[in-house]
């Protein structure tokens, strides 16, 4: 393979859009206007937020893409750039912010932490990837992604928007889009969607039937109890 081709990637098509692309002129106008006015939410979590600020600043300047209007209110934002480590203490707020955003809304997981926990994944207060809770459109690897990498991610998002069609977008479908249940801070983070599973597994631990958990998990429980 030639070196110049080495880092070229084939055109990617998002999984959910495969086999359903029929772009009309109307779609093209619709998407063109949307992709050039994506307003990000003014929302930073950790290190990556500083790179996001650098991207907004004069050297990289993402207002060239119509993104300069960083909105502090989720109601006015189109894209949520999850920039940084998502902790268990913060995830209820993030889910709430996501629910408050108006459709059409997109999520970019910026950096390793937001995508999959990052170097802090093993920690006790870290969510291993924001996609456990909210759907993510574009993932940008890197720790932290440089501003140019973030811009590349934003362009990738624009490509995704380009491939959407008025007929199939979820916000024009019938029926209400259900908000994502907000996680609860318990003895550990509780995902309300998992409540029955949690109850079942915890019950089975009392009756000493070995659950699907690893031995380490059981030990951890034991230690927690001692405290």
């Amino acid at each position: 393979m030639d070196e110049n081709e080495l880092n070229l990637r084939p055109n990617q098509i998002p999984e959910e859009l495969k086999g359903s692309i029929a772009v009309t002129t109307l779609d093209r106008i619709y998407n063109w206007s949307r992709r050039n006015s994506i307003w990000p939410m003014m929302f930073g979590l950790a290190c990556c937020a500083i790179e996001m600020i650098a991207t907004a600043a004069s050297r990289y300047d993402f207002s060239r893409f119509g993104m300069e209007v960083m909105r502090a209110s989720p109601r006015q934002a189109d894209v949520m750039i999850v920039s940084g480590t998502v902790t268990k203490k913060m995830i209820p707020q993030i889910v709430r912010l996501y629910n408050q955003m108006a459709e059409p809304k997109y999520v970019i997981a910026m950096g390793a932490c937001a995508s999959g926990g990052g170097p802090f994944k093993e920690g006790y207060n870290v969510v291993p990837g924001i996609d456990r809770f909210i759907p993510v459109d574009v993932y940008i690897p890197g720790c932290p992604p440089t501003p140019q990498a973030l811009l590349n991610g934003l362009i990738t998002l624009q490509k995704k928007i380009d491939s959407e069609s008025l007929k199939s977008v979820r916000w024009y479908q019938k029926g209400k889009i259900e908000p994502i249940p907000i996680p609860v801070l318990g003895p550990d983070l509780i995902d309300p969607r998992q409540s029955p599973l949690i109850k079942e597994l915890c019950q089975s631990q009392i009756s000493n039937v070995s659950p699907a958990g690893t031995p380490e998990n059981l030990e951890a429980h034991h230690d927690n109890q001692l405290d």
């Binding site: 950790a46 290190c47 006790y124 291993p128 958990g213 998990n217 429980h221 927690n224 405290d227």
Partner: protein, 579 residues
């Protein structure tokens, strides 16, 4: 380490006066005194009032499991300079209770809460002993050595599963919930009542009741998602009209378990993690950590490496102060133009970091006994043109743009005042301390590296308000440039690493506290080694975190709009606050 005359005197005095209750710490590699719990307050009062150790720098706990005790470690300093006095007190592990030092040193407040949260050490007499980084209701105290997180693999890195049979698996796939969680056995999510923050809101109280106009008091939450909080910081504010009556900071929204992970890492593996503490000035964090471990190992970096280190630290200080002033102006309502100008200069410095260290922000450049690689000649030339030409010129322009601006002055002068006494008592550090009129700078008060040989002045203010903090930062940038000019002139040739680069360093047992004057204040690393490849205890004395103790005092009586400016003037970075 040579003991000075005053220290010998102090030792004799303490032993004589308190007898059995104070013992020199005789474990190999350890320093300071072991104090009996019941005499702690008495000893500390005497230290503060008679010996002038008025600055409590760091409070932390160490779990010596399986030994049956926990230890609380205090580092005291004199605000006039000098080296540390280390005091320790031990408490049984099953019910560790230690008297709180809050009445003597109010700056112990957050640090004691942190020790309670993470280690479960109870501080008797603490006015508000709640969890600080985790939430109320969280099961267990995570920094205890026998507490294990859901993704626990092994006690120490490297993990055996990675090599030679490293068949890839995502660690969450091992977990029944496919997530980073575990619950106590009898837990029922249906019956769980989440904490409603009653303690937090209930603890809000007014300082005074004798205001003339009686208005209804309301509680306002600023954050954790708020554009002015510089990240995920939350302030619970009790308001009377526009006036702040009481305030409680809430943090932990970016608590990334730095210390727990740090105790599993090898010494070297912690280096890139320190980058992510205060992610704006990673070079300074590297510096502090390298100093602490080098102290333990008893090695000294070569001359050229010392110069490079100081050069990088001062460039970092410059870019941090630029950034923080830019964002202070942002908070004051001058939206983005000052920040843009500041970030422009920051980008030019980051280009240098990228060229030298390989990354813009996460430099990971320091090694024990030197730095990772030499600075090439053409980069030195670049730094020279920056330091001699561009940065001073731009700093002047920045000043012309801002310093005398009438709006800035009327917003900043006399707002958020902290008196010198308050500042010392609250363990405030860095530009905030110096703006209050305490010329305390670790580079001068307890010199490290080559700072003793360099000429520079410690900038300090008089009024202790936001404006003085701004001026101190501007002056510090000038002094940084002055240091840089000397360093660039005198930098010698030679190796940049003492000995061969090693990935597994041998660290003898003992404890060390390395501190540097970071751009945000005194940044300290407390490392305990037991001779194994990974540290037994690894604690970060984060300046942003402890500086926040003073927020309540500064904000008292201020308007809400000023509160945002006051927070901006402390210059916090959440990565460091929450760690």
């Amino acid at each position: 380490m040579t003991t000075s005359w005053i220290e010998t005197q102090l030792t004799e005095y303490l032993l004589e006066r308190f007898g059995e209750a104070v013992q020199p710490d005789s474990r190999p590699g350890y320093l300071g005194f072991l104090v009996a719990r019941n005499k702690l307050l008495e000893v500390c009062r005497s230290l503060r009032d008679e010996f002038g150790f008025d600055y409590l720098s760091s409070v932390t706990g160490v779990d010596y499991h399986p030994e049956p005790f926990m230890e609380v470690v205090y580092h005291f300093y004199k605000s006039t300079g000098g080296s540390a006095l280390v005091m320790k007190t031990q408490a049984p592990r099953d019910n560790p209770t230690v008297p709180s030092l809050c009445s003597l040193y109010p700056g112990a407040d957050f640090q004691e809460r942190e020790a309670w949260d993470l280690l479960g050490i109870r501080f008797e007499g603490h006015p508000d002993l709640r969890r600080i980084l985790m939430w109320e209701g969280f099961a267990g105290h995570p920094l205890r050595k026998d507490w294990r997180e859901p993704f626990f693999e092994e006690d120490a890195k490297p993990f055996k599963s990675r090599w030679p049979e490293g068949h890839f698996i995502r660690v969450e796939d091992n977990n029944p919930y496919k997530n980073n969680v575990s619950y106590p056995p009898d837990f029922d999510p249906g019956k769980w009542v989440p904490d409603k923050d009653e303690l937090l809101y209930g603890g809000l109280q007014s300082f005074e009741e004798d205001s003339e106009i009686k208005t209804e008091r309301i509680v306002v939450n600023l954050g954790p998602q708020h554009p002015s909080t510089h990240g995920v910081f939350r302030m619970v504010v009790l308001l009377e009209g526009e006036r702040v009556v009481d305030l409680k900071p809430v943090m932990g929204y970016l608590h990334r378990n730095h210390e727990k992970i740090g105790e599993r890492n090898t010494y070297l593996q912690n280096m890139p993690f320190t980058d992510r503490l205060d992610y704006i000035c990673s070079m300074s964090n590297n510096f502090g950590y390298a100093l602490a471990v080098e102290k333990l190992m008893g090695i000294q970096p070569p001359e050229r490496a010392e110069y490079i280190r100081v050069m990088m630290a001062e460039l970092t200080r410059f870019l941090n102060h630029m950034f923080s002033i830019g964002f202070l102006l942002n908070d004051l309502g001058a939206f983005f133009t000052p920040s843009l100008y500041a970030i422009e200069e920051r980008e030019l410095i980051l280009d240098i970091f990228e060229e030298v260290a390989g990354s813009r922000m996460m430099c990971n450049y320091f090694r024990f006994g030197g730095v990772a690689r030499d600075v090439p000649e053409q980069v030195l030339d670049k730094i020279k043109t920056l330091v001699h030409d561009r940065l001073p010129r731009k700093l002047d322009e920045f000043e012309r743009y801002l310093t005398h601006n009438e709006i800035l002055r009327s917003r900043c002068e006399g707002v958020g005042v902290l008196t010198p006494e308050q500042a010392i008592a609250l363990s405030v550090a860095g530009p905030v301390l110096r703006a209050s009129g305490v010329p305390y700078d670790v580079r001068r008060a307890d010199p490290y590296s080559i700072y003793e040989r360099l000429e520079f002045d410690v900038a300090y203010g008089i009024h202790g308000d936001i404006y003085d903090r701004y001026l101190v930062r501007i002056e510090e940038m000038r002094q940084s440039l002055r240091i840089l000019r000397q360093v660039l002139k005198d930098i010698p040739n030679g190796p940049v690493m003492a000995g061969k680069p090693q990935f597994q360093v041998r660290v003898p047992p003992g404890e060390a506290y390395g501190r540097v004057e970071g751009p945000k204040g005194e940044l300290g690393f407390y490392v305990v080694s037991n001779g194994k490849p990974n540290p037994w205890r690894y604690h970060v004395r984060a300046p942003s975190f402890i500086n926040l103790t003073s927020l309540k005092t500064m904000a008292h009586g201020a308007k809400v709009a000023d509160l945002v400016a006051i927070l901006g003037s402390i210059d916090i970075v959440l990565g460091e606050v929450d760690r």
